[in-house]
Symmetry: C2
Subunit: 385 residues, 2 copies
């Protein structure tokens, strides 16, 4: 196990009918801004529950945060915060709304020239407004970490930042609010959480038993409960297990003391930024390519992954076990109704070229060994045509 230092200070309030409890979590007298996306929280009753819980607070709202949230949108919220002297933010939504809110609370307190530096130059976040979340989609884990991904629409830059100042103070996870999600969002959420775990698990072994077994626990939960959620949308236990699994996939604990990859995310973000694919769609395309091209470097962990998660451990050779495991990943994504090839989304060689050129421009070397260059990305994506 490698050395590490970590704390996750997010209070989790989990279960049925828990939204009302947010009134006890926000300090009395706070001037609150509710941030949210489109109108879905108005249709499914979450908005009404939140407004009722905020009866004793002065509050405003900022809606219209898009998927893969835009820097430009966030800056409008920052302006509103300054105009209204807001001092507490409540994000109501999925990963996009929560990610946007993290950037908003940091940008509202940013003392440099340009808040975009938080993303482009990894400028230090010295302070941020406090915020809580009401989670409506199980997927990104943003509800229990300090990281976010923001896109500048103007330049198609999709970049991430993370800070100890941008952890939510609390997150409310009521699995019932996910019943009404479109199936596509359920599918995407399961795939996203699955790939989060793989990025922290399928690297090289460092004999970290707790981290490995926790990763396997989350992956098994996702492959067991994910398909059931598509068949039986209104089952509390299934939704609760998926919600809790997704949170654990990226709350930081399984990544402590182990190598991490994140190449699939790095490459996937470019596909979203350039072509507008859903985040999970990009992960489903890229991950099988990363595992295939890096199969020697990752051999031991791919074999462990196959055995512990998919039950692949019979008399096959190591090579066959690796290939079977990668096939099992592809089959799981397809079972979750997320397509796994560029051509499934109408993309071809031009996408391979464009993404590998962007990686080249940035000079990125990705993966746990920092050996995935623009050329490797080209190989990876060519396999996924």
């Amino acid at each position: 196990m490698e050395n590490f230092s970590f704390v996750n200070p997010v209070k989790i309030i989990f279960g049925k009918d828990t939204i009302q409890s947010l009134s006890k979590e926000i300090p009395a007298g706070s001037k609150v801004l509710i941030t949210y996306g489109g109108g879905s929280i108005k249709r499914n009753g979450v908005y009404d529950q939140v407004v009722k819980a905020l009866a004793d607070f002065e509050w405003n709202e900022f809606s219209g945060i898009e998927a893969n949230p835009h820097y430009e949108t966030c800056m409008k919220a920052v302006q509103l915060i300054k105009e209204k002297n807001i001092n507490y933010v409540l994000a109501v939504g999925g990963g996009s709304v929560i990610d946007a809110t993290k950037f908003i609370v940091a940008a509202a307190c940013f003392d440099g020239d340009d808040p975009w530096d938080i993303l482009s130059k990894q400028a230090t976040i010295k302070d941020a407004l406090p915020f809580g979340t009401v989670l409506t989609i199980s997927a990104t884990g943003s509800e229990m970490n300090g990281g976010a991904v923001i896109t500048k629409a103007e330049t198609h830059d999709k970049l991430s930042f993370g800070s100890s100042k941008t952890y939510p103070k609390f997150s409310i996870l009521d699995p019932e609010v996910t019943y009404s999600l479109p199936m596509k969002q359920v599918s995407n959420g399961v795939v996203d959480a699955f790939v989060h775990v793989v990025e922290q698990y399928v690297t090289y072994p460092v004999n970290a038993m707790i981290q490995d077994k926790f990763a396997e626990a989350i992956l098994v939960t996702l492959i067991t409960e994910g398909p059931k959620a598509l068949e039986t949308p209104e089952n509390y236990d299934i939704r609760a297990n998926l919600m809790w699994a997704s949170t654990w996939a990226l709350n930081g604990w399984i990544g402590c003391g182990v190598p991490e990859d994140w190449a699939t995310h790095g490459i996937g973000h470019e596909l979203t930024a350039l072509y507008g694919l859903d985040h999970a769609q990009t992960l489903a395309i890229v991950l099988p390519g990363v595992l295939t091209v890096l199969k020697e470097q990752k051999a031991e962990k791919i074999i462990q992954f196959g055995e512990m998660v998919f039950g692949i451990y019979n008399n096959m050779s190591k090579e066959e076990r690796i290939n079977e495991t990668i096939n099992a990943v592809v089959n799981f994504f397809e079972e979750m109704q997320v397509k796994t090839r560029l051509s499934d989304y109408g993309l071809g060689q031009e996408a391979v070229n464009a993404v590998s050129n962007r990686i080249k421009e940035r000079g990125w070397k990705l993966g746990e060994k920092e050996n995935i260059t623009a050329d490797t990305v080209r190989q990876i994506l060519t396999l996924r045509l």
Copy 2:
């Protein structure tokens, strides 16, 4: 899954040569009290590392905290804190030193008549001094929770308390400092951690997949690495896995949203208070009795426990699988060189009578269904003669 609300705010600093980092965790200008037990930290070099790291601080020390720490000892430390205007405490030791320190920091700020009320009346802890820990024994998990168990020597009362105010600010976990532990403490630590997990796992099913699988992950790690630590004391990976497993056994996360038992601890504490047995020895005696007497109530989870942790899933009947699982628990404790019967410690019927009478006096009803009365305790202990 049941509803829950939880946060664990402890910062973990894990790995080789990490003790030096404590100087960055304690606020500059703090007046520090180091609390510790006997002289082992002076023999194994931990004391020297701590003193070196505290070079820039004004500090005092309080030693002599015993196993199953005494209220009377803790109150002497409280007096010292007041005399010296201490405002930060650093616990250097295992669960006993850390538990004592939690009580000390709470008692130092207690505004009632008698700090013993914190234990006897569960009086609210409104404030406590901040403290950090340097862990020297993997066992209790006290380094990452807000609970403690304290004994009043005068009356043989061994009672527990817990508060959000008594979480360590940070805990430093360097597996190398455990190399020099006597084997008995390694054995006890593994058994203690094992039973912590079982108390939160072997109850009744509520379809909480993440919690169950995390519990199984910790248990498998303990049964895999525990015996190895006895054979090969100076192996970093083994000690690191055991240390991290022990912390996770009682940092609260696996108990979120599931029923909890804690009868084995309740009964075991009485055996320690009355006869001075090591905490882990009492658990090794009591747990097999609890599982046997409660085998119908716990049937589903005992079968799951047997299958997922001990690999017991062949063509046996349910009854046989339950019995085999309980046998496997006993065998594991014995393999860890912790004896499992009252008679192994020279105790007999008088201990059965004395403990069940104490449970009766207190009017306790223990276990996840609160149905373990004094009579049930008598049955449990009679099986363990």
